[in-house]
Symmetry: C2
C-alpha cells in the first residue's frame, strides 16, 4: 500500500491553481485538453482515426497481435469536455494491459448537443460494430467519469432498442446520478480535490438541457433496471463525491441478478487510474480491470 503516494497526489492536486471566475465552454475544453495532455500515452499502441456510427473515433491497437475482442471506449469530461485524445493515456494503458483493441468514440458534447445525444451516439456506434459482423459477446464497454456513465446508459438504451447486451462493462469513477442524491455528494465534498457541489451542478446543467434528471438514462444508479446486464466492474476512489454513484449501481446490479465487482481504492481521487506513473494503485487497478475484460470477452 503506497499511502505516501496517495498523499503526495492529493496534496499536489490541492495545490493546483484553480481558474477564478466563470469560464466559457471553449476555455474549459482547452484547459481540460491541456490538463489531460500531461498524462503520457504509452508508445506501444497504434492509433488510427476512424469513424463509428457516423461519429469520429480512434482505433487504439496493441502493436503486437491483439487478443480477440473490442473495447468500445467512452472518454470523460462531464459530457461537455474531452475527446478520445483527452482519455488516450488511460485508453492506451487499458489496451496494453488487456491486449485487446479499443475504439474510442468522439460522441457529441453538451451544451451544443445535450442529453440524450451522447447516448444516441453510443448506441449508433455499438450498432455499427454489430452490423459490421462483431458478436456482442466480443464487445466490452469501458469509460471514465461521464464516459463511465455512458457505458451504463448506452447499454440501457441498446437493450431498449432490442440490441443484444455487450459482454462486459468497465467504468472508472462513473457519473451515474444526475439527481446528485448520493450521500457522498455531501460527505465527500471536502475530500474530493476535483469537484464541488456547485461545480457538479453547473456541469450537469449543460448536459441536462432542461431534462428531468430523475429518469433511468440520467440517474441509472437510482432508477435503472439492470436486468440482463453483463458483468460490471466499477472502480472508484474514496476521495470522490461520485463514490456512491458506484456503490448504488452495484447494489442495483446485485438486486437485478447481475455479476458486479465494486472495486474501491481508499484515499485516491476521481479517475485515479490516470496516475499510473506515480501511483502504484493506478496500475494495480488497471491490471484488475484488464483481467476482468479478458475474462468476459470471448
Amino acid at each position: 500500500m503506497s499511502w505516501q503516494q496517495r498523499q503526495i497526489l492529493d496534496a499536489g492536486l490541492r495545490r493546483s491553481p484553480s481558474v477564478a471566475g466563470p469560464r466559457s465552454v471553449g476555455e474549459m475544453r482547452e484547459g481540460f485538453a491541456a490538463l489531460m495532455a500531461m498524462f503520457p500515452v504509452p508508445e506501444d499502441v497504434r492509433r488510427t482515426p476512424t469513424e463509428l456510427g457516423g461519429r469520429p473515433a480512434v482505433l487504439v491497437e496493441p502493436l503486437t497481435e491483439a487478443r480477440p475482442g473490442t473495447i468500445l471506449y467512452f472518454h470523460g469530461g462531464s459530457f461537455s469536455l474531452g475527446s478520445p485524445e483527452t482519455a488516450m493515456s488511460l485508453t492506451a494503458h487499458l489496451v496494453r494491459r488487456t491486449g485487446i483493441r479499443a475504439i474510442s468514440l468522439d460522441y457529441r458534447l453538451a451544451p451544443e448537443n445535450p442529453f440524450p445525444a451522447a447516448i444516441q451516439d453510443g448506441v449508433a456506434a455499438y450498432r455499427d460494430l454489430l452490423e459490421n459482423g462483431l458478436q456482442a459477446s466480443s464487445i466490452g464497454f469501458a469509460g471514465d467519469s461521464a464516459g463511465g456513465g455512458l457505458t451504463v446508459t448506452t447499454a440501457l438504451a441498446a437493450r431498449d432498442a432490442g440490441l443484444p447486451m455487450p459482454a462486459a462493462i468497465v467504468a472508472f469513477s462513473p457519473g451515474l446520478d444526475h439527481t446528485r442524491s448520493g450521500a457522498s455528494m455531501v460527505t465527500k465534498e471536502g475530500a474530493d480535490p476535483f469537484f464541488t457541489r456547485d461545480s457538479m451542478t453547473a456541469n450537469g446543467r449543460l448536459y441536462l438541457g432542461g431534462a428531468d434528471p430523475d429518469q433511468p438514462l440520467l440517474a441509472p444508479a437510482v432508477r435503472a433496471d439492470l436486468s440482463g446486464f453483463p458483468p460490471i466492474l466499477l472502480q472508484v476512489g474514496t476521495n470522490e463525491m461520485l463514490l456512491d454513484d458506484s456503490v448504488r449501481l452495484a447494489e442495483r446490479a446485485r438486486e437485478a441478478g447481475v455479476d458486479v465487482v465494486l472495486d474501491v481504492t481508499a484515499g485516491v481521487p476521481h479517475v485515479f487510474q490516470s496516475y499510473v506513473d506515480t501511483l502504484d494503485e493506478a496500475g494495480l487497478a488497471l491490471d484488475r480491470a484488464a483481467l476482468f475484460v479478458r475474462q468476459q470477452l470471448r
Copy 2:
C-alpha cells in the same frame, strides 16, 4: 456467462437429500468431510503436515518454484465442522493460481472449544509466522465461510494484540455477523440452497457458547472498526443468506479508508468457488482472487 451451469448447479444442490432429524456433531463432521471429499484436489501441489502456533496445519505448496509470500488459510464449516482437508480442493486451487504457498490451519472447533478459541488459534498461528521471520507484508489471510470470517476477526484480534497487519485479506462467502441482522438473512432464505435461518441459528449457537453476538469479534460486519486493515477482497454469490455480511463489511471498510473489492457473482451459492470443475464462474472468481493476492503480497 454460463447461466446454464449456474442453474444446473442450483438444481443439483436442491435435489441433494437432506438428512432428516437432528444429528450429533460427530455425524455432522463425518457428513461434511464426505461432502467436501467430492471436490478433487489438483495433483500439482505438495501437501505436508506441519504445526503452527501449537495447532496442526497443512503446508500446501506449488510443485514448481513458489512465488514469495505465504497465505494463512482458514477452512470453512460453521466453526464446528471441517479441517484443512475439507477445504483442500479450494486451498490447492488458490495455491496453483497464485503460485504462492499456503498454510491451512486446523483451528479448534466448537462446541468443544467455542468463541474465541478459533480466533486465538488464528492469532497464535500468525504470531508464529512472524516470530519465524516472515514479514507481515508477505502474509495474506484467506478463508471460506466461517474461515472467511476468521480472516477478518483474526486480523482484528491481531491488531488489538499489537501485531502488524497482514498484507491482504481474501474471504470467500464469509460469515461476518452472528447477530444475523443482514437483510439477506430474510430475502435470500429461499434462494440459498444450503442454509435456513434455523440451521444458521443452530450452528451459530455452538460457536457462541453463550457469548453475546453483538460485538466486533462476532459481528465484524456491524461492529468492527476496520481502521488500518490491508486491502480486502470479498467474493460472494447472490444466492446466499450471507450476502449482506460481505456487503456491510465492504461498506465499513470504505468508511474506514480501507481498499476493498466486493466481488459478487449472481445466481451462485455459498462458496461457489469450490465448483471449479463444473462452473466457469468459479474459476473466473479464483483467478481474480489470485491476482488480488499476488498484487498485495510482496
